[in-house]
Homo-oligomer: 298 residues x 2
C-alpha cells in the first residue's frame, strides 16, 4: 500500500548547518574577521547524559565556526555561583548566546537561574518574556525554543502548508508543546493542544491536518487515529527495552510509526527526525543573536 | 422550549467588588490604617471614550477603598514624557498598579510604554513576561489580564466545570483571546483557538463544551453551531444600528444571543455579562498587587 513520505530531519539539519556555516564565513570575511558568534554553555554537575549533550553542542559550534565558551561547575556549586557565571556571560560582548544545561541539581532554583539570562542571549528561548512575545501578535521574541522551532522548520522545508490548516499538538510543556502550538498558530493554523487531562485525544487528532506529538509516551499516537494524508512530526524520544539490540533498548517516538506511516502523508522518523534539528536551531539562534548584537552596535 | 441559564455578570461583579471592599477594610484595620492599595491611571489625549473609561475606573476604586492616582497628558505629549510618568509610578510605593489607558496617540510606541511598566505593577497583565508566565506550567504571572480573567471567573462562579472539557476560544488578541485560552488550558480544558484564518469555525465550535467568543464580529457565533448544553461566554461588545433606540444603536455581543440562548446550557448576556467583570478584575488585581508588595515588605 501507500506509505507516507519520510521527512529526513538528519538531511535537513545538515543543510541548515551548512547554510549557517556559509553565512558566518561570509559575514566574517565581510567584516575583516570581526564577526565571531559565540555560545557559552554552563554545565553544573557530572551527569553523563548532560556531559554528552554539552560535548555535542560544542562540537557542532566548532563545525560551523561558532566560538564556544564553557563553564563546568561541580554538583556542590551554590546557586549564587551559577548566577555569577550567568552574569559574567551576560556582560561579555564575545558571547551572543548562553545556555544552561538542564536539569540543574535539585538544590537550585531553575526558574531563577534561567530568568537571570539576558533575554538577548537566551538562545534556548526559555525566558518567560521570550515565550510571552512568541504568544503575542505583533511582538517578536529574541529567540524561539529550539525543538519546536526545528519541528516547524521541518514542516516548512517539506512543503507542508500550515496556514488555514488544523493542527493538534500533543503535550504542553514549556519547552516543546506550548511553544510549538504558538508557532503553528502564528503561521495561521487552527491549533488544539491535547494533554494528559484530555478526554478522548483521538477525537481531536482524527481531524488534524498536522499532528505534533510531544507527550513523552512511547508510541502514544496510533495510525488509526490519524486523518489520511496528514503531516506528523514526532518529537518524542523514548527508550524501550529490546533484547534484540546490543544496547538492550531501542529508541521510539511518541507516535506508533509502523501504523502511522501507512496513513500519514508525511512523517518524521525517530531517530533522525526532530532530534538533529534541535542542535541546528541552537546554532541558528546563536548566529541570529550575533547578528542582532552587531545591529545594536555591540 | 428550554432556555439557557443566564450568567449574570453584573450581579457577580457586584459580589466581587463587595468582597474586595471587605478585604481592604479588614486589612486596613488589621494594619492600623497602613494598608492602602493604590492604582495609577495614565491617560494621554482627549478621546471621549477613554475619558469615560478612566472616570469609571477611578469611581470604582473609590467605591471599594482603593486610592486612585491619575496623570492626564495632552495628545501632544512625547513618548519620553509618558515614560517619565510610568517611571515615577514604578518608583512610588503608594502605587500598586499602573494602567496606561489604550489606545495611545499614533506617534507613540505602545509596546515600549507598556513594557516600561514594572511587571509587579502591571495590573492590566499586558507585559510579555506576565503573558509568558501565564502560558508556562509551574510559573505564576504577577497579574492576569482583566477581561479573560473575568470570563473564567464567570464560569467558575456559575459552577461550570472546566477541567477535562473541550473549549473553543474565538479570537486570539493579546488582551482577550490568547490569555483566555491560556487560563482555560491551565484549568485543564482542551483548548482550540479559532481566528480569522480558520476555515469552517463551526466545525470546532460544534464540539465545544465551553465557547468564549472574542472576535469583535457582531453576532458571529450562531445558536445552530453550538453543542446543546454548552457554556457560552460572550466577550464581544459591538454597536449595531437600531432606529428603534434613542441613541440610534444597540449593543450586541459576538454571539447571536436569540438563537444561542435556545441551545446553550449557560450564557452571558450583552450587556451585563463579561463587561462588568473587567473593572472588578482590575480592582482585584490592584488589591493583589498591594498584598504582594506588603509581603515583599515594601
Ligand atoms: N527531539 C528533541 O530534541 C527533544 C525531544 N524531546 C522529547 O519530546 C517528548 C516531550 O518532551 P517534553 O515536552 O520535555 O515532556 P514533558 O514530560 O515535560 O511534557 C509532556 C507533556 O505531554 C503531556 N502528556 C503526558 N502524557 C500524556 C497522555 N497520555 N496523553 C496526552 N498528553 C500527555 C503532558 O501533559 P500534562 O501537562 O497534563 O502533564 C505534558 O504536557 C519526550 O518524548 C522527550 O523525550 C524533548 C525535548 C527535545
Ligand atoms: N467586555 C470587555 O470588557 C471587553 C470586550 N471586548 C470586546 O471583545 C471583542 C474582542 O476584542 P479584542 O480581542 O480586543 O479584538 P481584536 O480585534 O484585537 O481581535 C479579534 C480577534 O478575533 C479574530 N477574528 C476576527 N474576525 C474573525 C472571524 N470572522 N472569525 C474568527 N475569528 C475572527 C481575529 O483574528 P486574527 O488574529 O486572525 O485577525 C482576532 O484574533 C470585541 O468585540 C471587543 O469589543 C474587548 C475588551 C474588553
Amino acid at each position: 500500500g501507500d506509505r507516507a513520505q519520510l521527512i529526513d530531519g538528519k538531511a535537513i539539519a545538515a543543510t541548515i548547518r551548512g547554510e549557517i556555516k556559509d553565512e558566518i564565513d561570509r559575514l566574517r570575511s565581510e567584516t575583516g574577521g570581526e564577526f565571531n558568534p559565540g555560545l557559552a554553555v554552563v554545565l553544573v554537575g557530572e551527569r553523563k547524559d548532560s556531559q554528552t549533550y554539552v560535548r555535542n553542542k560544542k562540537k557542532a559550534c566548532d563545525d560551523c565556526g561558532i566560538v564556544s565558551f564553557g563553564t563546568d561547575l561541580p554538583d556542590t556549586a551554590t546557586e549564587e555561583e551559577v548566577l555569577e557565571v550567568v552574569k559574567k556571560y551576560n556582560a561579555d560582548p564575545k558571547v551572543h548566546g548562553i545556555l544552561v544545561q538542564l536539569p540543574l541539581p535539585a538544590h537550585m532554583d531553575e526558574e531563577k537561574i534561567l530568568t537571570a539570562i539576558s533575554i538577548q542571549k537566551d538562545v534556548d528561548g526559555f525566558h518567560p518574556e521570550n515565550i510571552g512575545k512568541l504568544a503575542m501578535r505583533g511582538r517578536k521574541p529574541d529567540f524561539v525554543c529550539c525543538t519546536p522551532k526545528g519541528s516547524v522548520e521541518l514542516l516548512e522545508r517539506s512543503g507542508v502548508e500550515i496556514s488555514g490548516k488544523s493542527a493538534v499538538v500533543v503535550g504542553r510543556s514549556n519547552i516543546v508543546g506550548t511553544p510549538a502550538a504558538m508557532l503553528l498558530q502564528e503561521r495561521n493554523a487552527t491549533v488544539t493542544v491535547v494533554h494528559s487531562r484530555t478526554k478522548d485525544p483521538e477525537r481531536y487528532i482524527r481531524e488534524a491536518d498536522i499532528v505534533v506529538a510531544a507527550c513523552g509516551v512511547a508510541e502514544f499516537v496510533k495510525g488509526e487515529w490519524l486523518k489520511p494524508g496528514c503531516a506528523v512530526i514526532d518529537v518524542g524520544i523514548n527508550a524501550v527495552d529490546d533484547a534484540t539490540k546490543k544496547r538492550g533498548y531501542r529508541l521510539v517516538g511518541d507516535v506508533h510509526f509502523d501504523s502511522a506511516v501507512k496513513v500519514a502523508g508525511q512523517i518524521t522518523p525517530v531517530p533522525g527526525g526532530v532530534g538533529p534539528m534541535t542542535i541546528a536551531m541552537l546554532l541558528q539562534n546563536t548566529l541570529e543573536g550575533a547578528k542582532a548584537a552587531r545591529e545594536r552596535g555591540e
